[in-house]
Amino acid sequence: MKKRLGIISLFVILFAAFIAVWNYSYYEGLEEAYIPIENNNPTPMIPSETGVFERSDLGLEYANMPIDENHQRSLDGYYDNRAYHGAPPSIPHPVKEERSMGGKTCLQCHENGGFTEKFNAYAPVTPHPEMVNCRQCHVPLKTQSLFKGTNFPELEAPAVGVNNALIGSPPVIPHQIQMRENCLSCHAGPSAPKEIRVTHPERINCRQCHVLNNKEIRDIGNFSRQHSYE
């Protein structure tokens, strides 16, 4: 009897406690959380590393993948599709659904790449599949004519094979990496332009050897040795 009473009271207590906690959290939920004003983040001096390892689980597969000589992209083709190097590429193929922001439709092919019969090519892999409003930046071109000419001074794109300091030393990264932090999406796999396809995608930790050589965001001054013996 006592035992049963004990069990019953235990449940009663648990139930009461549940009601109390539930009630409390409900009212907590109603109350507006005070969100303190955050200090602005200081300007990053070290470029973002988000996404660096994003496709690394595919590294070994990329390494073992045979090269399809007949369907390789070239760096020229890669740059032709951009207003300047670093600009978002335009869409070089017709798109079916004008009313779509892109999203799944684009990601079907561009999330992981693969061969597309229709275009007889490997689909390039996007380095930022989490951004789904694709057509906010990527537009298909419907004409080759111009409204008026342009004198836009097109920046010379970085070339391959000129970015290492010593014979055989790892080349530095000659381009901006914002939104392109995930190296393997462009530098590995069958859709990578042949000139920039990495020979060792399985190494994954790209930036242990390859560093940036361009000015990022803010120049905080030159740190040189002032003192001299002369």
């Binding site: 973002s48 600009a87 009313r99 930046c137 008026k148 920046l155 965001i217």
Partner: protein, 775 residues
Amino acid sequence: MYTSITSRRSFIKKMATLSAITAAATMFPGILFADEQERGLPTNGNLDWKKAPCRFCGVGCGVLVGIEDGKAVAVKGDPKSSVNKGLCCVKGYHSVMAMYGTDRLTKPLVKKNGTYVETSMKEALDLIASKMKETIDAHGKDAVSIYGSGQWTIPDGYVASKLFKGCIGTNNVEANARLCMASAVTGFMTSFGIDEPMGCYDDIDHADVFFLWGNNMAEMHPVLFSRILDQRLKRGVKIIDFATRTTRTSMAADKSILFRPQTDLAVANAICYEIINNGWVNQSFVEKHCNFNKGLTNMGYGLEDNYSFTDKPEKISFEDYKNFLEDYTPEKVEKISGVSAKDIKYMASFYGDPNKKVMSVWCMGMNQHSRGTWINNLVYNIHLLTGKISTPGNSPFSLTGQPSACGTVREVGTLTHKLPHGVVMNEEHRKFAAEIWDVPVENIPSKPTYHTVEMFRALDRGDIRFMWIQVTNPMVTMPKLKRYRDATKKEGRFIVVSDIYPTPTTDIADVILPSAMWIEREGMYGNSERRTQYFEQMVEPPGEAMSDTWQLVEVAKRLGFEKQFYYNEETHIEEIYNEYRRHHDNKKHNMAPLEVLKEESGVLWPYVDGKSTKWRFNAKYDPACSNGEDFHFYGKPDGKAVIWQRPYEPAAEEPDDEYPFWLNTGRVVEHWHTGSMTRRIPVLHKAMPHAYVELNPGDAERLQIKTGDNVLLTTRRGKITLPASVNERGVPTPNQVFVPFFDENMLINDITLDSFCPISKEPDYKKCAVKVEKA
């Protein structure tokens, strides 16, 4: 021996090139090197990244512009900017190309005997000043006018207002923002007594449900839309698209609800009805912080010249308001709006749920509305009734379309009734402005003159004889355009246009001044969330191009106002900004000092004690709150916001038997406004080369129109032929067609109607009646 770094570096690089290629070719046979790679070392070493707000829309993304050898060559998003966090849209990424079109205006052009003759800047400015003097002498002060825009930097607008209102003494100062967010302003003024959103973009990171009121955000505010999409990925927020057209936004939304044009008024009232009927009213909030008002109804549509309207607000009780809403039960509104009662209840349920934070977002759908002020009021009603306002994530949010519609037109006050602080009708405000401007207070007239549409009508009538148009393209954007284009061509009118490219507006100019744009000069913009952003001059303007600010200063000096326009050419932007800040020197509107703007990626005003104010009217965040309560709507004398009784009324011109379709106009993601910049960016023009008319597939089938067919649109104002677009970018509701307005070769505004909201005087570009035929 001295060896130059460059040659040493290039020597090493060349060596490296050769050896790398050789090594690579032998070691990795899979890799092929193109011949080009032996040539050409990368020249990006000189690239310098400088911060600026984007040139285009009102979102105000922070961009970093890559400068090399004095040219802007690349753009990336500023990861430090809390607006866009490193992302841009296709226009932003290519924005710098807008400076390099081959037909850039580089010399002043003066029309002589029907042709444009190049002159020096000095001569052109002399001519402008003498024409202004002449006009004032012959026809009075109110015969000269300036028409600017929300792309004016803060200093541009400030000197324009100071020159015209303070020095010359006319309130003939208007800006194209009248066509774009005047209803948002009057919405804020009538509901809260003070302009601009209470919240900020950070609300996106806190809200649970997003209502897009007639706002195709995926195309028009893509970066903010991407922030919402990001939240959906992370937190599963809900997006509800409430519109008259199925767009990319509808496709991306969790729910798309379509309504008949103009009936958003009824639906908003029905949502309020549901909130009250279901007991979802936040009683304590409403009792403490809200009043109930009604205003005049059947106001008309401003179609006739010299139309005027002044609302007469009258206090009512909560019971009166409740009774009024009896006409707006979901079932009754279903019949008016075509939105099912179920969907209305569905919408109301999110606003009514105390555990859901709701953000309502809108732009032109609600502002370019013949009852624009009302629909703004009605959406605030929903947020006020439920107390979902001024707290993180609970935010009615009015977006803008121009980089400084807020910063310049609304804050500097380049509208006929406005002063930087306050309005011309108020003597105290006039005195305050006159003191800072160093002019006699009598100079500033106490009566507003013409709002934009009326200003062009006055030009047509001959009441205005001289108009200076800066950074805008009214000969593409004015509704019922033909009347106003003809007006500019009349005898005895003198039009000055400052712009960077030839446009339909420069085509009607007597003098064309080449302007320095964006980062070719120094300035500030203010975006939709009260963020003021500074940009330095990064590149040299072409030829004799001069900033709009300095053009105005030069003319002001020629008109004899050297004392007021004392600025030094090298430091004038700083001097002007510091002078401007004095107008807002109070806790409700304080602007950040220039040093802070230079350092930060923008600062939200009120900037008090070294801090941006993210949520106004909320005592936890806003130091201007002083009533000891949680909230203080200090824009109104009694500290209370107003819930307005505003009925549904039809639009000025609704479809009938003769003109059976609605004509709706708007924008596309690729082009910005009239395309004078974006069409000169090859990738954007190639992506969207011309305008089109979008039809509902059902209508198209009935009229046997297919995509690409020519379609003749006829309204009471005229005709235009456009290629059809069926089931492509957007699908309008049945009996509606949509045409983007960016194309100067297919001027849709030739046939739109110049009806406007009687309170805000903002035209309704979204609604008039049109006949649709296969051409």
